[in-house]
Every structure is written in structure tokens, then in C-alpha cells.
């Protein structure tokens, strides 16, 4: 079941980050993912 308020992260042990990236790039990645996750709050819940 897919619910549009569940946002997939990078990986279980580093959900919002990637230890393989340099710290500065990782921060940019985290900010993008966090914002995309939060944007889901702006839409109504639908289930498919």
C-alpha cells in the first residue's frame, strides 16, 4: 500500500544522509530530502 505522506529516505542506517558524500554535499542532499518530505504535508492524504 502506498500512502502519499510516506517519503522514502536514502537507507535505513542513514535515512537523511549519505556517508559516502562529502559533508557539504550531504547537507545539501539532506535539505532537499527534508523539504520534499515536508511538502507532502501540503497535500491531502490519498491511498492507493
Amino acid at each position: 500500500m502506498y500512502v502519499n505522506r510516506i517519503f522514502p529516505g536514502v537507507a535505513i542506517p542513514h535515512l537523511l544522509g549519505n556517508p559516502k558524500l562529502p559533508r557539504s554535499e550531504e547537507k545539501v542532499l539532506r535539505q532537499e530530502l527534508t523539504e520534499r518530505a515536508l511538502r507532502l504535508l501540503e497535500q491531502a492524504v490519498a491511498q492507493a
Binding site: R5, P13, L16, P19, Q31, L38, L41
Partner: protein, 348 residues
């Protein structure tokens, strides 16, 4: 061999007084008291209540460690084979004391123990896995049936006999699965169940599924740039040293940690306590599980109005959904009062 039984009661059931005496300190009387007299009847000649131990409800809950140590000492002194606590029915403090004492007696003294509680007593959710609990009614009206079962189950435990399934013996399921030999194969049993189900006849499943219920989804946040959001995680993130002793699996509690004024979560200040994933990456940079640095950037950029000053954290593996329900019930109103519009829950 006659079993040596210790019976635990609170001040009220021991006949020492009501709420005014709830500070009563642990004490022992070397005979059956109150409900213990009925219990002795059910034990018959197979067991003897050699001691009743008593503690006031407030005393136990306010000074838990020293009360527990004193009570366990009193149990040890008489070389008991079995501890029977209560029953406490729906009573909150008394129920917790009974369950906690049974758990400690089993853990620290290796003693067989049993208590009786109403299924909705808060102690049940906390201790049902560790403690043998006979379900009772909400009040002492159900005293006799409860004592009869507690006696029967307690004697089996003390003799090291194995118990049958919860529904047969009359105790609350502890979530264990034990191997047993059935007369018919799984295929035949499954088909029999299916046939019963299709023809509308009653049947008993062998694997009851948990019921999670349904929660109506919250309406959307109309504009993120005007919303304050709260941060939650089930990834077991706690301040270094785990001050609240959150369990790393099957959590029974959650923590509230201040993130007020913090620009990010620093390694060495926060760490993950979670037995279900490899936590080194999170310990190296806790923002990987609770992205506070990103949240602060979004606020600075004007894309988000603010973040709630408390982080709520628990461990999500093997966690009883009832803990999460309680968490929602306790935290929800707090967030509403604080004007929080949405939440980011990071899960592993």
C-alpha cells in the same frame, strides 16, 4: 512437598487502612491476611502462605527502588517457592506494584510469580510479556475466581510444570509461541477453518493478528512557510548516555528532548539506542536521522515558519502499538496548544 508461598498486598487489602495509609512502608506478617485467607483455601494442602508482605501504594510508587529491595528481602528470608501478588483488579498504583514485584522476583530471585489484573490495567501493557497475569474484573467482585486461577497457575509454575495456552489455563497471552503437537496437519486445520469461515461458523485462528485500528488522516498544512512542525523519530535517538534509559527494542517509553536553540544535532551529544539497525552512521552525524540542520536552513530560507522546541523519540522495533497510541494521546494536545501544524516522523 508443600510449597512455601509469599502473598503481596497493598495497605488496603491487608486491612491496614485506605488512602490515608498509602505511605505505609514495607512490612511482613507471617500469616495469610485478607484475600490471602481465601487464597490459602485454594492452595489447599499443596501450598502454605508463610508470609504476607505489604506496602502502601504511594510508598511503592514514590520510593520504588528501596521498597522493592525491602520486599524482595522479605521474600528471600522465608525461602519461598512462589510469590502471588494481589489481585489488584483495575487499581493503577497497586497493579504496577504487583507486576513490578513479580517481575523483580522472577528476575532477581528466580522465583515463580503470578498476579491478577484487569486487562486494561496500565501495568498489563508494560509487564504482560514478563509477568504471568490472570485477567480479573475491574473490582474485587471477581476476587474469588481470580484467586482460584492464581493459585492453580502459581502452583504449576512453582513445580516447574509447563502451562497450557493462555485461553485454556486462564492467563493473559504473553506473546510467546510454543511448539505443540497437533492431531492434524496444518493443511487440514487450515481447510477446516476456511470451511467454517465460509459457512459462517465460529473458528479460532491459530495466529491472531494485531489490530492497529484506523486513524483519520490530519488535513493538509495549507502553507509550509507559515507552519511550525514537530520532529519525531522511532530511530532511538537520545542524548548521549541515554539518560531516560530508553530500551533499544520493544520500547516501553519515549523521550522528550530539548532542541531549542540548537542549530544541528552534534555527534557526541546525541546517539542512537536501537538494536534494529546499524547506528554508527547516525552516531557520526545525528542529523542523518533527525535533520535539524536542514530544518534550520529551511527556516532561514523562509520555507518553514519554525520547529517545535522538543524532539520526541522512541525505538520503533518490536514496539507495542499501544505505547505509540499513548504517545500520540499525550503529545498531540501538547502540540495543538503550541500551535504546531505538522510533524516529520523519521523511522528506520
Amino acid at each position: 512437598m508443600e510449597l512455601r508461598v509469599v502473598h503481596y498486598l497493598n495497605q488496603f487489602f491487608a486491612g491496614l487502612g485506605g488512602e490515608a495509609e498509602a505511605d505505609l512502608e514495607p512490612r511482613a506478617v507471617d500469616k495469610a491476611l485478607g484475600p490471602g485467607e481465601t487464597l490459602q483455601g485454594y492452595l489447599g494442602t499443596a501450598g502454605k502462605i508463610v508470609r504476607t508482605i505489604i506496602c502502601g501504594d504511594n510508598c511503592f510508587s514514590d520510593r520504588q527502588e528501596e521498597s522493592l529491595a525491602a520486599l524482595l528481602g522479605m521474600v528471600r528470608e522465608v525461602e519461598a517457592n512462589l510469590l502471588i501478588a494481589g489481585p489488584a483488579f483495575a487499581a493503577g498504583r497497586y497493579g504496577l506494584a504487583c507486576a513490578h514485584l513479580c517481575d523483580a522476583a522472577k528476575r532477581e530471585l528466580g522465583l515463580a510469580s503470578v498476579t491478577g489484573l484487569a486487562p486494561d490495567n496500565p501495568a498489563v501493557a508494560t509487564y504482560k510479556r514478563e509477568v504471568l497475569i490472570v485477567p480479573t474484573g475491574a473490582s474485587a467482585v471477581s476476587m474469588k475466581q481470580a484467586l482460584a486461577r492464581m493459585a492453580a497457575i502459581g502452583m504449576k509454575l512453582a513445580r516447574g510444570e509447563s502451562l497450557g495456552p493462555p485461553g485454556v489455563e486462564g492467563y493473559l497471552p504473553q506473546g510467546f509461541r510454543r511448539n505443540a503437537l497437533a492431531e492434524e496437519s496444518g493443511a487440514k486445520r487450515a481447510l477446516a477453518m476456511l470451511r467454517a469461515k465460509l459457512s459462517g461458523e465460529p473458528f479460532v485462528t491459530e495466529i491472531p493478528l494485531p489490530e492497529f485500528g484506523r486513524v483519520p488522516p490530519a488535513p493538509p498544512v495549507s502553507d509550509l512557510s507559515r507552519a511550525v512542525i514537530a520532529l519525531f523519530t522511532t530511530g532511538g535517538l537520545v542524548p548521549k548516555g541515554n539518560p531516560d534509559r530508553l530500551r533499544s527494542h520493544a520500547a516501553t517509553s519515549y523521550g522528550r528532548y530539548s532542541i531549542e536553540g540548537l542549530q544541528e544535532l552534534k555527534a557526541g551529544e546525541f546517539e542512537a539506542f536501537h538494536s534494529g539497525y546499524y547506528t554508527a552512521y547516525v552516531n557520526e552525524d545525528p542529523n542523518r536521522i533527525v535533520p535539524l540542520d536542514a530544518i534550520r536552513s529551511l527556516i532561514r530560507a523562509g520555507n518553514l515558519a519554525g520547529v517545535h522546541p522538543t524532539l520526541y523519540a522512541t525505538t520503533g522495533n518490536g514496539t507495542d502499538p499501544r505505547l505509540l497510541e499513548r504517545m500520540a494521546e499525550e503529545v498531540g494536545p501538547e502540540l495543538k496548544r503550541a500551535g504546531v501544524g505538522g510533524a516529520l516522523i523519521t523511522s528506520t
